[in-house]
């Protein structure tokens, strides 16, 4: 059943992040893809949406009192998704697996009576035409397959589920406004400061390569960052390293969940809480000076040694290799 209408959440709409390009790619395998935004998409975003086959962007028109900071509340995003599904008679809603989008998708599913799958690692359809989500659970140790048994399916999808592919032919993209009423009881947002994003490196959530530093860095993330830049990766940390104030974002069950092509852990012991957020990575590499480090149990390749020596030398060899190529 590829005549479905698939709505992809694009929030914010200033740029189309790689995770959203993945959703558009997945969406096209299920039907016609349209985007939903809470603000006007930028010119660049529109061009990318066109390249990915999106003819229509549904831009929510919110009540005046919700156009400020409150529009980021998940209940507001949920009301937008719900209204968009009703407007377009859509069959599938796709959003990235951020904490906020997970809530919004679950709330929209609740309002629509739709089946909800959170953190899908892949989306497909089964022989009977049901939308099916695969998940990697229990710290990457089990795979599950779940099908949505309702007419409408709402899913959040983890980054690195597919490789983004533009449509065979680009299309012209039109923006259409639609009015959204929000009847949820909302908290007041009294202050909101957006985080600066490091534009020189890929974001942790979406990167194909992630280098993580732990307590073993003893506070010096220099070697970790230099190595990450040599391999073109994002930088992350363990919760302990963040609690020490050495870095700002941590990977793990309660931090950012990642499943990149390559994860490199430096001075990371591999505690269950940390594993829960990275064990689904395709290739796992570690540098640790303890030959008994638990992280080695889940590694494909590892070096027993001091992280600054090993990462420094590796970065040098990789830089030389890249220059040759």
């Amino acid at each position: 059943m590829t005549n479905r209408t698939v709505l992809v959440l694009l929030d914010p709409a200033g740029e189309v992040r790689p995770s959203v390009l993945e959703l558009l790619t997945i969406g096209r395998t299920l039907g016609r893809v349209e985007a939903v935004t809470l603000e006007a998409p930028s010119v660049e975003a529109l061009a990318q949406l066109g390249a990915y086959g999106v003819e229509t962007v549904h831009q929510a028109e919110l009540p005046a009192d919700l156009r400020g900071d409150a529009r980021h509340l998940s209940a507001v995003v949920a009301a937008v998704l719900t209204a968009a599904v009703r407007l377009t008679d859509a069959d599938v809603v796709l959003a990235p697996s951020t904490f906020g989008a997970k809530e919004a998708v679950a709330l929209a599913g609740h309002a629509l009576g739709a089946g909800v799958i959170i953190d899908a690692a892949g989306v497909a359809e089964d022989d009977a035409g049901h939308v099916v989500g695969t998940k990697r659970v229990f710290a990457g140790s089990w795979d599950t397959v779940s099908r949505v048994t309702t007419d409408v399916a709402a899913l959040t999808v983890r980054a690195n589920a597919v490789v983004p592919q533009p449509a065979e032919a680009a299309v012209a993209t039109e923006v259409e406004g639609f009015a959204v009423a929000v009847d949820a009881v909302l908290p007041a947002v009294t202050a909101r400061t957006e985080k600066a994003r490091d534009s020189d490196r890929p974001t942790l959530e979406e990167a194909a390569v992630v280098v993580a530093g732990g307590r073993g860095t003893e506070g010096d993330f220099g070697p970790v960052e230099a190595f990450a830049d040599a391999v073109g990766g994002a930088v992350g940390a363990t919760r302990d390293a963040v609690f020490e104030g050495w870095f700002d974002r941590y990977i793990g069950q309660t931090g950012v969940t990642i499943a990149p092509r390559l994860y490199v852990g430096a001075g990371v012991s591999g505690a269950p809480h940390h594993r829960g957020g990275m064990q689904a990575s395709q290739v796992i590499v570690a540098v640790n000076n303890d030959p008994e480090a638990p992280i080695f149990e889940i590694c494909d390749f590892a070096v027993v040694g001091d992280l600054s020596d090993v990462l420094g030398q590796a970065a040098e060899v990789i830089r030389a290799h890249k220059q040759q190529a």
């Binding site: 209940a75 951020t98 904490f99 997970k102 809530e103 679950a106 709330l107 599913g109 609740h110 309002a111 089946g115 909800v116 959170i118 099916v132 659970v137 229990f138 140790s141 089990w142 795979d143 599950t144 397959v145 779940s146 099908r147 048994t149 309702t150 949820a184 009881v185 908290p187 007041a188 009294t190 202050a191 400061t193 985080k195 390569v209 040599a230 391999v231 069950q253 309660t254 969940t257 269950p272 829960g276 290739v283 590499v285 540098v287 149990e297 590694c299 494909d300 590892a302 070096v303 027993v304 040694g305 020596d309 090993v310 990462l311 030398q313 590796a314 060899v317 990789i318 290799h321 890249k322």
Partner: protein
């Protein structure tokens, strides 16, 4: 102040976790209180402890779980931390519930508690470590028609208002909501206390109230497998990885790492 803390009974993340017949295996040998719900319990205890003595006297913290009877383990742990009451909702009709069924049962139990007197706050953990959904708190707020403040890092309650700060993926936010409200706390919100000997002893003999789906007026078709909107059709352990290729750094470890990455086209 009356606070309900929904706590989940989950397999210990340090144990070997598995599925049986496409459902999470809730083997009592590895079942425990969801660790992140300790942060919710701690938040509730601190809110009550900050009240004046007269208000403390009339306050109540109720731990609530939707679980099979083995789930009492989670409630006992909550008693050990210092909650006043424990309620378990168990029913064969609830087996196989998805987010919507679990939320319906939790909301119905909160409403029933509300027939005894107002519930000012529902405080949950940020996620259940088995499914890692992080969606039940928001769904519970929507079902109860209350404002939802989730992933809070700091929490304060004063004059009938909840104040919280949080770090989202995009921003740092300050939120306020009038009570009654639903709050979920992040693992960074506090450091859960260790129970003292007196509480551990007292927890053993505390009574756990048991409610069924019928007690809560839940339609059998709305919860459990019957009410589920998703169906898990396959659950399989991932194939074991081949053993790690371990290199001892004797001066060439970095080179070996680089060569591994280049050989596997990872850089």
């Amino acid at each position: 102040m009356r606070i309900v803390v929904p706590v989940k009974y989950v397999p210990d993340i340090n144990a070997e976790r598995k599925f049986v017949d496409c459902r999470v295996d809730r083997d009592p040998a590895v079942g425990t209180l969801n660790e992140l719900d300790e942060n919710a319990l701690e938040a509730a205890l601190r809110i009550v402890e900050a009240l004046d003595e007269a208000e403390q006297e009339t306050s109540e913290i109720v731990a609530l779980t939707v679980a099979p009877p083995e789930g009492d383990v989670a409630l006992r742990k909550a008693f050990q931390m210092g909650v006043d009451r424990g309620v378990r909702v168990s029913d064969d009709a609830l087996a196989g519930s998805d987010y919507s069924g679990t939320t319906a049962a939790l909301a119905a139990a909160v409403r029933r508690l509300e027939t005894e007197g107002p519930v000012d706050l529902v405080i949950t953990g940020m996620a259940a470590l088995d499914g890692l959904g992080s969606v039940v708190p928001a769904l519970l707020a929507a079902t109860l028609g209350r404002p939802s403040v989730t992933f809070a890092k700091t929490v304060a309650v004063a004059d009938g208002t909840l104040q919280a700060t949080r770090e989202t993926d995009e921003a740092t936010e300050s939120l306020t909501a009038p009570l009654p409200a639903v709050l979920s706390v992040a693992d960074t919100a506090n450091r859960p206390r260790f129970p003292n000997f007196k509480l551990i002893m007292a927890a053993r003999s505390k009574e756990i109230e048991q409610w069924t789906a019928a007690d809560l007026g839940l339609e059998p078709g709305a919860v459990g497998t019957a009410g589920a909107r998703t169906e898990t059709t396959l659950a399989a352990p991932r194939p074991e990885k081949p053993p790690v290729e371990l290199v001892q750094d004797k001066g060439e470890g970095g080179k070996a790492l680089a060569e591994y990455l280049i050989r596997h086209e990872l850089v």
